[in-house]
Structures are given as structure tokens and as C-alpha cells.
Symmetry: C2
Subunit: 374 residues, 2 copies
């Protein structure tokens, strides 16, 4: 699997290929029947589109633990563009943009006028094949998703298919797309998956930690002003018997006081991988001045956002299985079919749940909103 | 390099091979000139020896942060031996046993009557070749070291050459040697090395984190009563402005109190890898009941121990370069040749230094002593 994912994908589809077998049920938008696609080195740029439909905002809600500087309201762009050149849209790379949170985020940002590129190895779809799982909602291929988005809105989302653990591939994406910001969802994100066996535990930590290390090095090497928004998890903190503070806590001990990183107590190899990431990110912020926001969000649920509900080919995935199904999604589907709810542990856990399409008023969420919507 | 190290080594040397070109300068012990060696699946067992010399104790000094249960005074042995069968020596696997701390530890334990196996990929010697570095003291090959030890003391140290990131290899070593305890030094141990470039940063974290994960899984799968003694570093804690506690600290915050993992603030990709290890180990202690001692020791210096000074072929390495040379070793050599001392940072750092052959009276050190010497 690791070998598979270290190979970047290069795709060329002949002009006789028809991407959509079915017409759009809601919008009746005509999809293109001729186009050229190249991924990896030549991103997904040459789609022909007809039709346009404006959307509203979608945000993945999160609590934020800023590990370094405050999030900038107006992220400076790279060396090839003036920092104050407001005429050019900001360029946001969404790593893991074919996944549940990533897809909704990519569409939202594209709809808001950002230039968006999706970077994804598509390994999440491979997990479904390997484990015999699948989304309850039928989801289109990433290629058809992006064609549909272009057809409906006229907006192009670039596509780079490859593994960010492959630094050569990641370097190409940075040098080709030149992001002003990177939203990094590109990790194995299931705690149960990480606990299946040794192979998957090791895969989870290697994939997540090395992928994020590569992103940090790519920012340092190619786009040092680029802002990283990294998805962690509330689960990094565990369940301490004191209030959880965002990122840091002031401790008085034996007559002295210091403000130190809040202690983490992860409860799976997945959660541990996020702790490792947070520690690596915090270090690079100190050592290199990396501009990063490390989001430690709770469970996200739901399917529809303003953008994903535009067309059935834009639908987001709904996981309801025991490995990737988030709690509320799983409970709803189980209740609907009369299946007992599958509760992990003793059932006494309390967690914050975020609806994927709702903007919350939490100050920490505003870090993300502020950064991208300002 | 990763590929190289994932290949276990299998060696067979013909009986006409002479391992030692020079006679022993001090002991005049006659070394064998006929033997068979097989590593990996068939460890290093068939040495012919002449001569015996008793040694005294050597311990790598350390402060210890026990992450789980108290260290047992008499580690129970595995399923094939009675827990109370004191007639059979305890079996200790020293991972990284060809390295600076590992070599001294392996000889000490062997001399104390433990059955010892060294597991090592020998990659530390490759680093020397790649970076153009070398030990000031001439060091023998691991094969000659072990032949010499056998010749002098009559004691056999088994040898498994391979990479613990290769779980198939590690499984073989566990099933063949059946350790009662594992002392794990088998990590890339230089902070400067980890900061040379991206490739070495990634190597350090992948090698250290995945290797330790594999050791944890091997213990769980094959030797669940086996005690792990894992080498970390004082540097995991950074330089907080409050007293450093071993492992945990009690924090009162907003009217509630909890005892939580002491916050870590690592200052290199190497130190971060040790923090990641500590978090993974702590989790497996909780989740699986792994019996582990996570040592967070300071800088070790010096060369001679009672065992390594028995013969020139047993000499330990003395690194004095800017990458692997520990502070005091480096300073001494630089002073001797009139070279300015190479101080990292501003030169204001204060650190604890441990002489490799000295037993200290620190309680935490006793964890290690108690475990192995009782």
C-alpha cells in the first residue's frame, strides 16, 4: 500500500470519454464531453464548463489551538505576488480534499472566490475497498466531482493526485500551485482503523507524521509565508480532570511559574499521531517561524453543505460503519434500520459535535473563518 | 538506505577465516580460528572460545521516568520458563547493542550472568561512512567484538543483524531469543544529525517511532511479560521555568486538580522522536499493560568500562565530531588539539553529564540497576 501511494498519478483521458453517464437531476447543467486532464505535474485546468451557480459559505467547525503566531487576517502571498496585491485571489491548497471534511472545505473556499487545489492520494477510497465499507451516499469520482463543480459554477479546482509522504511529488505541487495557505486534512483519520492491527497502526503514524513533516519542510523550502491550517483532534487532550485550555496552560510549581504546552493524553495510535504532529508543528513554528494554526476540533457530522447539495455528483460521503462512521452519523443510520447503537467504551463519553455546514460562534473557530473569509 | 536496512543479514563465514589479525595485546588470550556464524534466524552461537576473565558492573546512568508499573525486581520469564525458575539466567535483548551505550550495556549484562542478545542494523557505522566521520578509538567489527568477548570470558552474546522497523525480522528475533527484558537503544540518537536536512529528519522520526512501535507490538504479541527499558532523553522536557518532575506533574487549575504527563518541549526532530516514543509507550502501558521503563537520561560521556577495557577489540567508540560527539568528549578532544570548543547555541546551557562506567546513587538510576542486578 505504501508503495502504491508513493507513486504520483498522471492521467490523460481521451476526448471521446464521457464523464457523466447521467444528466444532472437538479440543475440540468450540461456537463462537458471533451477535455484533457493531467494530474501531478500538470494540474486539472482545462475543463470546459457551462453553467454557473453561486454558493454560500461552508466551514468545518473546529476549536483552534494556535501554536505560534496569531492567524493573519490577510495572509501574505509568495515571492511571485505582491503581499498587497488584492486583485489576485488567494491560493489555498486543500490536502485530503477528496475526503469528508476536505471536500466540503474545498468547495466552500472555491465558492468564496479562492483559487483552490486539491491534493489527495485517494487512499481513503482504497480503505473502503479493502475493508468492504462504503459511503451511504453515492459519491462520484474526484474527477467527476470537479468536472461537475466546474460545470455548475464555472470555477476550476486544480487536482494533484499523489502521496504527500513522497516529497518529490509534494514539491511539484508546491512549485506548480504556489499556495498562500495549506489546509491539511490529508491524514488517516480513524481511531478504530489505527487500532485494527500493527500494520494499520504503523501506517497511521508513518503516514500522518511523515506527511505533515513533509508539508512543513515544503513550506519552509518553497513558500515560507504560506499559512498552514492543520487538522488535529480534541482527542489529543484526552479526558483530564481539569479544564482543557487551547494549546498552553500556566503552571505554578515549587514556587515558580511557566506557561507550557497543555499535557496530551491520546487514546489510540491515530490520536497519538495527531499529538506527534502537534509537537512537530510547534517546534517548526519556534525554530523556523512557520505560520501555523493547529486545529483540535471535535467530531464533525452531517452531509449537506450549501455546495455539496448543489448536485448529486457533489454529494459528500456519509460513513456509518464502525471504522470510519462518526458517532452521530452512525447512530442515526443504526436507529433508522433498527440496529443497536454501537457505542465504544462504556457509553459515558461526552463530546462536542459539529455540524459540517454550520458556522459556530466559538472564538477559536473564528481563526479559520477570519483567515479565509476576511 | 531504508531499503538497505529492511533487509536482514545472513552471514556464513568459512572455517578458514581468521577473525583477529592481531593477538590480544593485554590478555594474550588466543582467539578462535574456526567457527560458524549465522545471523538473523540463527544467531551467533557457535563460537569456540579459550580463556575467561571476570568483569565488574557497568551501567549507563540515567534518570528514569517510569510511565507505567513499578519496575519489577525479578522480571517474570516467558511461557516456556517458570516465573520462579531462578536457575536459568534472565534473557536480555539489547537493541542497538553495537552502539555507544548499547555495547557497554551488553557487555556489562553478559558479565553479570545474563543471557544477552544484540539486535542491531549496524546503520550507525553507515552514518560514519556517509558523513566522513569516525570514532577516535579504533573499534572492531561487531563480529570480532563478540568473538573477542567469547574468547576472553567464555560468554556468548547472540547477534541478530537487521532492522527493527522490519517487523518480520523483529518477530524472528523475539521468537528465537525469547527475551525476558529488552533494553532499547536502537534509535538514531543525534540531534544535529536529525537537523541536517529533510531526509535525515524524516529518517530519524520514521526509524525511531516505527522501530519502537514494532518493539511494543512484538512484546504484546510474543512476550507480553517482557519488560521494556527504553532510552529517551532529558531533552524531551526542554528548559521549562519550573522544576522537572519524572513523567508526571500534579496541576491545580480552575478549582480542580489532576496528575498529568509532564509537558514536553523538544528542540530538534531527534528530541521530538523521543517524545513521540514516550507518548506511544505510555499509551501501550495503559491500553495493553506493557511493562516499560522510559528512561530520560542526560548526556553520557567517556569510553572505558570494566568490560570494554578488557581488550582493544572490546573498546567502545569515542565520537568527537559535531554530529555524534557528545559535549564533553568533543570538548576534551578539541582542547587536546587546540581547536576552539564547538558550543551549540549561546553557550549558556547547563546539563547533567553521566560517566558511562559510574554507578550513581540517584533513585531513578536504581530502577535500571534494580531490575537487572537484583
Amino acid at each position: 500500500m505504501a508503495h502504491l501511494m508513493s507513486t504520483s498519478c498522471s492521467i490523460k483521458i481521451s476526448s471521446s470519454y464521457r464523464p457523466c453517464g447521467q444528466p444532472l437531476s437538479q440543475d440540468r447543467t450540461v456537463l462537458p464531453n471533451s477535455f484533457t486532464i493531467k494530474t501531478s505535474k500538470s494540474p486539472f485546468k482545462r475543463l470546459v464548463s457551462k453553467g454557473h451557480r453561486a454558493g454560500r459559505s461552508c466551514v468545518v467547525l473546529a476549536t483552534a489551538a494556535s501554536v505560534s503566531k496569531e492567524v493573519s487576517a490577510n495572509p501574505r502571498s509568495g515571492s511571485d505576488r505582491s503581499p498587497n496585491d488584492s486583485s489576485k485571489p488567494q491560493r489555498v491548497m486543500v490536502i485530503g480534499g477528496d475526503g469528508y471534511c476536505g471536500w466540503a472545505t474545498a468547495l466552500h473556499l472555491s465558492n468564496k472566490g479562492y483559487e483552490v487545489a486539491i491534493v489527495d492520494s485517494l487512499v481513503r477510497r482504497l480503505f473502503d475497498h479493502q475493508l468492504g465499507l462504503g459511503s451511504l451516499t453515492p459519491i462520484s469520482s474526484i474527477h467527476n466531482r470537479l468536472r461537475c463543480w466546474k460545470a455548475i459554477t464555472g470555477k476550476t479546482i486544480e487536482l494533484y493526485i499523489g502521496d504527500i509522504c513522497d516529497f518529490e511529488f509534494l514539491s511539484e505541487t508546491f512549485n506548480s500551485f504556489e499556495p498562500d495557505a495549506v489546509v491539511h486534512f490529508g491524514e488517516q483519520r480513524s481511531a478504530p482503523y489505527s487500532m485494527i492491527d500493527r500494520s494499520r497502526a504503523v501506517f497511521t503514524q508513518k503516514n500522518n507524521v511523515i506527511g505533515t513533516l513533509n508539508v512543513l519542510f515544503a513550506i519552509k523550502e518553497f513558500r515560507e509565508e504560506c499559512h498552514l491550517v492543520k487538522l488535529g483532534t480534541m482527542g489529543e487532550y484526552g479526558t483530564p480532570n481539569i479544564d482543557i485550555e487551547e494549546g498552553y496552560i500556566t503552571i505554578s510549581h515549587n514556587g515558580r511559574t511557566d506557561t507550557l504546552p497543555y499535557p496530551k493524553q491520546a487514546s489510540s495510535f491515530y490520536h497519538l499521531s495527531k499529538v506527534h504532529d502537534s509537537n512537530n508543528i510547534a517546534f517548526t513554528c519556534k525554530a523556523w517561524g512557520i505560520r501555523a494554526t493547529d486545529l483540535n476540533q471535535g467530531v464533525v457530522y452531517g452531509v449537506k453543505t450549501d455546495e455539496t447539495s448543489m448536485h448529486e455528483q457533489l454529494y459528500n460521503r456519509l460513513d456509518y460503519d464502525g471504522v470510519f462512521g462518526t458517532a452521530l452519523n452512525r447512530f442515526c443510520v443504526q436507529a433508522a434500520v433498527g440496529h443497536p447503537l454501537t457505542v465504544y467504551g462504556k457509553g459515558g463519553q461526552v463530546s462536542v459535535l459539529f455540524q459540517i455546514s454550520t458556522k459556530a460562534s466559538m472564538p477559536s473557530t473564528f481563526c479559520l473563518l477570519f483567515h479565509f473569509d476576511k
